[in-house]
């Protein structure tokens, strides 16, 4: 997994609430058996007009947002389906950080599995940033995971919170399965104890 330490980058603004994962990556792109190449499906339906041509008003189609690495959006981003294709598609498009006033739980988790930093800021902070980004082509932010700050071009800063364990894993780009496997003996001890408490949970479903 990619580590995330500090990122300065162009910000793209998606000024909508409740953006669900069906919009981020529609179902027809879920038939893939790969993690890569999903960029083409990112916001597929929103990117196009009824006749199939690109919608020039959609943010990702605007030249000012080409090369953006930070996505700024609003409440409840990533709600709905658990599809990890959503962060995969965002990553494929080049986004390494999503800033929103809140995230749906599963999407939030999925970001960490893919080296994407989800940052939660207060609604009024999002409102202020949204205004500035929309008004200022080329607007950049610096997101510093170590310091847990988002810094604007004028030097104003916002702090965000994050669980220490998650932060550490993302900061160092750790393989989370490898990490869990280091606790093999704790898992085995749990299983041995549990087997006596609830033996019916250890019958093999294959028989």
């Amino acid at each position: 997994m990619h580590a995330f330490t500090k990122l300065t980058g162009l910000v793209a603004a998606l000024d909508r609430v409740n953006v669900d994962t069906d919009q981020i990556i529609p179902k027809q792109f879920l038939k893939t058996i790969k993690r890569t190449g999903l960029r083409e499906g990112l916001f597929y339906d929103w990117r196009r007009q009824k006749d199939g041509s690109p919608d020039p008003s959609f943010f990702l189609n605007q030249t000012r947002y080409q090369g953006a690495t930070i996505l700024l959006t609003r409440d409840n981003f990533g709600c709905g389906s658990s599809r990890e294709h959503a962060p995969w598609a965002l990553l494929d498009q080049g986004f390494r950080c999503v800033i929103a006033s809140s995230f749906a739980d599963i999407f939030y988790n999925n970001c960490f599995q893919n080296g994407i930093l989800p940052v939660v800021l207060k609604a009024e902070e999002i409102q202020a940033l949204m205004k500035d980004v929309l008004a200022t082509p080329g607007y950049q932010l610096t997101v510093d995971l170590g310091q847990q700050t988002v810094t604007t071009p004028t030097g104003a800063g916002y702090r965000f919170t994050i669980d220490p364990f998650r932060k550490d894993c993302l900061y160092r780009g750790l393989d989370s399965i490898g990490l869990t496997l280091q606790h093999e003996s704790a898992i085995a001890a749990y299983e041995a104890r549990r087997k006596t408490e609830a033996p019916w949970l250890f019958t093999d479903l294959r028989t």
């Binding site: 609430v17 919009q23 709905g80 599809r83 599963i106 364990f165 549990r194 949970l201």
Partner: protein, 467 residues
């Protein structure tokens, strides 16, 4: 010290270890796998040279891509076919039980788990699918995960989790005749909003929940995720034990009795505290119809489509305007004036035998309107078989409904069952997001009874007074 909630009891009994910040390594008893969210997980295992820790704790089934028409013809869509083949190959390579497309036990992952006795009280159950919350109906902690986590569970039988908060949603009173679990959960989401449950695990309590059948409880827990909660649960009781008894994968004989003894402990203590409590009165719940593009955009069938001009909050107004434009509805029009083109009775929310019985009961002797195309898609091969034994399929086909093979079907339209742009559907599924049932398609979420009445009349009607 105060008592423990049902959630606390399950969580605490699955704790393998904890980090200093409270991050928990949680033991996962069982995992369900389907074709859409698993290929990359198996690929990850292969690339890292890892093996499943307990292949016998996982059950796999294809459901999202399967055709609901004659299976002997195979799958026309090559990409779908490859995904299903990949699942079969992976299960063979890793020694995981699979119910393939020709197996009578095949069906929607959240229908077959309970049906097989795979879903048990007190367990932790995961699946790369957000509607895993369904299994909470048995007093289990069940939640959806991403594909990386599917891989994590396969490799370690554990997940790294932060302890969620708990929310009690209590529904007291008596539901009006012909209102169902679907109306209850839609009303709940209408009340708490689509993010109201974010960060929480919900426990449903109250007299209404106790009177619901296991099928009804599954419908309820299924849509917890639409209220933002990863998991919803109902404490197990005699109904739960009776449902489980005798199912193929459930404990049997002395083992069953031992299990029931332990399951009886799994209730919230009288002195336990939830982090949040929401109360609804059953008498206030009318049959629900969603009008917008998010499950929280829902109202009673006796009400009107909202008027954005009357909204003071700018965010709400903008979202409502956008939703009404997409849905092609006029502000303030009565819900019963909305005419429909399609009806879909199916999905992991409402495709169990009880749902089909209710639907058939209302369809009996009626005819689907000429302007409407209606399909019934059973939740599993066994549901289909049972329905046919009871003659329900004949009632449906006589009324003009199509009777299909089991699968997810038009719930998300990954197979050939798709809405055309602009088409409007009364659907018993769980999501009305833009394009969910096909690009440009318009979805109204309703109960099975309401879907049948809409199919017959061609527009929504109040099932309470429909004859």
């Amino acid at each position: 010290m105060s008592g423990k909630t049902l959630f606390d009891k399950i969580w605490d009994s699955h704790l393998v270890r904890q980090e200093p910040d409270g991050t928990t390594l949680l033991y996962i008893d069982r995992q369900l796998v389907h074709e859409v969210t698993s290929p990359q997980a198996f690929e990850g295992l292969k690339l890292a040279g890892r093996k499943p820790r307990r292949p016998g704790a996982t059950l796999a089934v294809p459901d999202h891509n399967v055709p609901t028409t004659d299976r002997r013809l195979g799958i026309a869509d090559q990409v779908s076919a490859i995904q299903i083949q990949t699942l079969e190959d992976n299960c063979r390579d890793f020694g995981i039980t699979l119910f393939n497309m020709s197996d009578i036990r095949q069906g929607i992952v959240h229908v077959i788990g309970p049906e097989q006795g795979f879903t048990l009280p007190g367990t932790t159950i995961v699946c790369g699918d957000s509607h895993t919350s369904t299994h909470g109906a048995f007093g289990a902690l069940a939640f959806g995960i991403g594909t990386s986590e599917v891989e994590h569970v396969l490799a370690t039988q554990c997940l790294v989790q932060k302890r969620p908060k708990t929310m009690e949603i209590r529904v007291d009173g008596t539901l009006s005749d012909r209102c169902s679990a679907k109306d209850v959960i839609l009303a709940i989401i209408g009340k708490i909003g689509t993010a109201g449950g974010t960060g929480y695990v919900i426990e449903y309590t109250g007299s209404v929940i106790r009177t619901l059948s296991m099928e009804g409880r599954m419908t309820l827990c299924n849509m917890s995720i639409e209220g933002g909660a990863r998991a919803g649960m109902v404490a197990a009781d005699e109904k739960t034990f009776a449902y489980i008894k005798g199912r193929p994968l459930a404990p049997a004989g002395a083992s069953f009795d031992q299990a029931v003894k332990s399951w009886r402990q799994l209730t919230t203590d009288a002195d336990a505290k939830y982090d949040a409590v929401v109360v609804l009165k059953a008498e206030e719940i009318a049959p629900q119809v969603s009008w917008g593009t998010s499950p929280g955009m829902v109202t009673g069938v006796d009400r009107r489509v909202p008027d954005p001009a009357a909204m003071t909050d700018e965010k709400d107004r903008k979202a409502t305007e956008r939703a009404l434009e997409y849905m092609g509805l006029t502000p303030d029009m009565p819900i019963t004036a909305i005419t429909i083109d399609k009806v879909f009775i199916g999905s992991c929310t409402n495709a169990r035998i009880e749902d089909l019985r209710v639907a058939a009961n209302f369809a009996k002797g009626k005819k689907v309107a000429k302007t409407v195309h209606a399909i019934v898609v059973p939740g599993s091969g066994l549901v289909k078989q049972q329905a046919e034994e009871e003659g329900l399929h004949r009632i449906f086909t006589a009324a003009g409904f199509e009777w299909r093979e089991p699968g997810c079907s038009m719930c998300l339209a990954m197979n050939a069952d798709v809405l055309q742009p602009g088409e409007r559907c009364a659907s018993t599924s769980n999501r009305n997001f833009e394009g969910r049932q096909g690009a440009g398609g318009r979805t109204h979420l309703v109960s099975p009874a309401m879907a049948v009445a809409a199919a017959v009349e061609g527009h929504f009607v109040d099932i309470r007074t429909w004859s």
